[in-house]
């Protein structure tokens, strides 16, 4: 809260991203709708962050994302308490903190929203990890609702014809599942519209992310983590398209006027893995104090990385490939190639890897990617040990010292 007696710092005000308020308003409305769905006879589906949401939107089903909720829990520093509650229920403290927080939240109605709206069905796509498979089984038993699993086999070294046929078949099964669960026929016309909006949203999101290739960068990867919520939760809606159109405009204006997010941007960084939600502000300030801006990351770009596989004229038909060939569902060498591409495109001077105890598919292989990056680019790489939601696995003082040392190396290299 701003103290009315203190005048606002005009320099800081200028740097603030104005669209943030709009985004908060949209998300508030979205969660109000979701939380009152039952009273309004609306259907709610819980879905994984990498799952195909478009068919839900086309069927007027409200999608709810436990992972987005997990991020909110982390950012509001409620993660530790909820994780401990899950541990009391018998879940190991080594398990994913999104899953732990959600599992206990479903039982105690905790978290910033007082619990998520109860689902009528669960949609689990394992393109991000095997954890979601177990997590959704647990919730399917808890809520006693039907579970649809979209099984997207890992493309270690390519998208094979066997995988393609299997996932395509499952898209058909998904449609039948939704028809059975809602008792309504699937709207094949509507999915075309929704698909077009989803593709447009992803293209806009990609353009937003690409504005940070400009020097100085109009926003940081940490801002992108915040603005990500809409492309995840409202992909396929006009609301998302309108919002990202506005955000893109703001970013372009900032570029034009030379408004940077970090006041004296001198060093540009690439971030890997999920954010450290409960310490995002601290990390942001820490890098800023070194005149460094994390301009891009491998995480937020995952929500536009499959654009090349989407056929605008056959959205439903191309969904299988688009949802299978995402960043976390490919081989480590392919991931490294994408990282190298980003390092070049964004002109970064250093690479920060969040070794995230909660996310094994994202974190195992990081050390090989680190070695490839060092060998091929020579830029310094820092690996920070943390967890996305559970603060017990993060040592602030150690991170502080290590970031200082890392930034020293970058400065010496200039």
């Amino acid at each position: 809260m701003n103290d009315k007696a203190t005048p606002k710092d005009p320099e800081k005000e200028k740097r603030k991203i104005k669209s943030a308020k709009k985004m908060r308003d949209i998300m508030t409305t979205y969660y109000m709708d979701a939380l009152t769905a039952r009273e309004n006879n609306k259907t709610v589906a819980w879905i994984t962050s990498g799952g195909p949401v478009e068919p839900l939107i086309a069927m007027d089903i409200i999608p709810v994302y436990p992972e987005n909720h997990g991020a909110m829990i982390g950012a509001s520093k409620m993660g530790e308490d909820l994780c401990i509650k899950a541990e009391d229920m018998g879940y190991s403290s080594d398990l994913c903190s999104y899953a732990r927080a959600d599992i206990s939240c479903a039982v105690v109605n905790g978290g910033p929203l007082g619990g998520l709206p109860k689902p009528d069905m669960l949609i689990c796509c394992n393109n991000i990890c095997g954890t979601v498979l177990k997590w959704y089984e647990i919730q399917a038993r808890h809520f006693n609702v039907p579970l649809f699993i979209l099984d997207t086999p890992v493309c270690h070294s390519g998208y094979t014809k066997e995988i393609a046929a299997y996932v395509q078949n499952q898209i058909k099964e998904y449609v039948i599942f939704l028809e059975t669960a809602t008792g309504k026929p699937f709207d094949y016309d509507r999915i075309k519209t929704v698909g077009a909006l989803a593709l447009e949203g992803q293209k806009l999101w990609q353009k937003v992310l690409k504005t940070t290739a400009q020097r100085p960068s109009p926003m940081s990867a940490f801002d992108a983590f915040f603005f990500l919520a809409l492309i995840v939760t409202l992909r396929g809606t006009q609301t998302a398209v309108d919002f990202y159109t506005q955000l893109l405009k703001e970013m372009e204006e900032r570029v034009e006027q030379g408004i940077s997010i970090v006041p004296e941007e001198q060093h540009r960084l690439l971030w890997d893995n999920l954010p450290v939600w409960y310490n995002l502000k601290w990390l942001s300030q820490k890098f800023s104090d070194h005149n460094a801006c994390p301009v891009a990351d491998t995480y937020t770009s995952a929500w536009c990385s499959a654009i090349q596989y989407i056929d605008a004229n056959d959205f439903l038909g191309s969904m299988a490939e688009a949802y299978t060939r995402i960043y976390l569902n490919i081989g480590v060498d392919q991931m490294a190639d994408q990282v190298l591409g980003m390092i070049q495109f964004y002109g970064v001077d250093g690479f920060v890897m969040h070794s995230n105890r909660s996310c094994k598919p994202y974190s195992f292989g990081q050390m090989d990617i680190m070695n490839i990056v060092r060998e091929k680019t020579g830029i310094p790489v820092l690996m920070l040990e943390a967890d996305m939601v559970d603060p017990r696995n993060f040592s602030l003082s150690q991170a502080d010292t290590r970031i200082d040392a890392f930034m020293e190396i970058i400065k010496q290299k200039r």
Binding site: M89, G90, Y91, S92, D94, L95, C96, A99, N126, C129, G130, T131, L133, K134, W135, E137, I138, A140, R141, L147, I149, D151, P153, V154, H156, S157, T160, E162, I163, A165, Y166, N169, Q170, E173, G331, V332, D333, S355, R357, K360, P361, S363, F364, G365, Q366, M367, D368, N371, E385
Partner: protein, 371 residues
């Protein structure tokens, strides 16, 4: 110890020696990490399927590839690979399993120089017709990969013969387990564990003979009296012979298991009345499910409770590897289901290759006394 156990102990003492002697017969050695590896195809290709176990407790080389929050089994096997201890392998096969093994597959492919490498990317859900169809295409693809490696096709006869052999091995193992459940003192848990571990390593034709000999020897042993507390082990790999001895010293006996280095690996015969590839598909889709796969929301609890009842067990010991996500996610639910059935359970969290600790002794002793 009866002499029929000797070949099994010789095998697990020195898997490399076993591998080298198989190689001298002109066979290629293909390693695997998971009980979903289709061994019948590897064998039918004239290669030797050999399960990899972690042998090292000191991790140094794998530290540069896998963080400390990766399970000791995956780290230990990578350490073995990087240190050159597995140089006798001609190749490695990775079925789709847990996230950690998935990433190990990438790391292995990028860092190990082997003539053959295959990801056998099986379905994670096993409940639908499309998953079954996909399973078949994956097995067919693996067959083609093997054929191009060995340079000739795998014939229907080769495959049928291989399937018959593996079915025979599985039946014999099941018979030994049944004997153990009927007369727990007939073979110690430590010995039985050695047999099952060696069964995943040694030449399968030799294994078949050795199991046959062991089975008849065990049947002829005089029955020893005893009325131990009957326990089931549940987890992934339990490579800890000490635990079996500890259980027995405390008055218990392991009469069955829900381990991927145990009954989950060998249970489920391949239907021989189907075309071979269909038979394989059916077996790998319908076998006792691993928690990294989905076979309905209640499949594992049902299988465990059925096993407890079939073996007339009085309790379950969960031997869970630290950092093993699939098993850790299932544990609270499985425990709850056991509780509802009035079946006591004990949760032990351990590292692979762990040796007995005083604390573990106390917990196991107390658990057995309480039953």
């Amino acid at each position: 110890m009866i002499e029929e156990l000797t070949p099994f102990y010789t095998t697990i003492k020195d898997p490399e020696q076993t591998a080298q002697s198989i190689k001298t017969k002109g066979k290629k050695i293909l390693g695997y990490l998971c009980s979903y590896a289709p061994e019948e195809l590897i064998f039918a290709a004239g290669c030797h399927p050999m399960r990899l176990f972690s042998r090292k407790t000191e991790i140094s080389l794998a530290e540069n590839h896998l963080q400390a929050y990766c399970c000791s089994l995956v780290r230990g096997i990578l350490e073995q690979g990087l240190s050159g201890d597995l140089n006798y392998l001609d190749g490695t096969v990775f079925p789709h399993t847990c996230d950690s093994i998935q990433r190990l597959s990438d790391i292995w492919r990028l860092n190990m120089d082997q003539a053959f490498f295959a990801d056998v990317i099986m379905p994670a859900k096993l409940t639908t017709a499309s998953a079954r169809d996909y399973m078949k295409t994956v097995l067919n693809k693996f067959k083609t990969d093997l054929e191009s490696y060995i340079g000739h096709p795998i014939t229907e006869d080769d495959l049928a013969e291989s399937i018959a052999l593996f079915n025979r091995i599985r039946t014999r193992l099941d018979q030994i387990y049944t004997l153990k459940a009927e007369h727990p003192a007939v073979i110690s848990g430590k010995d039985l564990f050695c047999v099952i571990k060696a069964a995943m390593i040694m030449d399968r034709n030799l294994l078949d003979t050795c199991l046959k000999d062991l089975l008849s020897a065990l049947k002829n042993l005089p029955q020893k009296p005893g009325d131990p507390t009957r326990l089931i082990l549940s987890g992934s790999v339990c490579d800890m012979p000490d635990l079996y001895t500890l259980v027995e010293d405390a008055g218990g006996a392991v009469v069955g298991d829900d381990l991927c280095s145990g009954q989950r690996w060998f249970q489920g015969l391949i239907p021989q009345d189907l075309p071979p590839m269909d038979g394989l598909t059916a077996r790998y889709t319908d076998r006792v499910v691993c928690p990294a796969k989905h076979s309905g929301n209640f499949a594992r609890a049902k299988a465990l409770i059925d096993l407890v009842k079939a073996k007339k067990a009085q309790g379950v010991v969960f031997t869970l590897l630290k950092f093993c996500d699939p098993h850790a996610f299932d544990f609270p639910y499985l425990k709850e289901c056991l509780d509802k059935e009035g079946i006591p359970s004990l949760h032990l969290e351990m590292d692979d290759q762990q040796t007995n600790s005083g604390q573990m002794t106390t917990r196991v002793e107390t658990f057995i006394q309480m039953i």
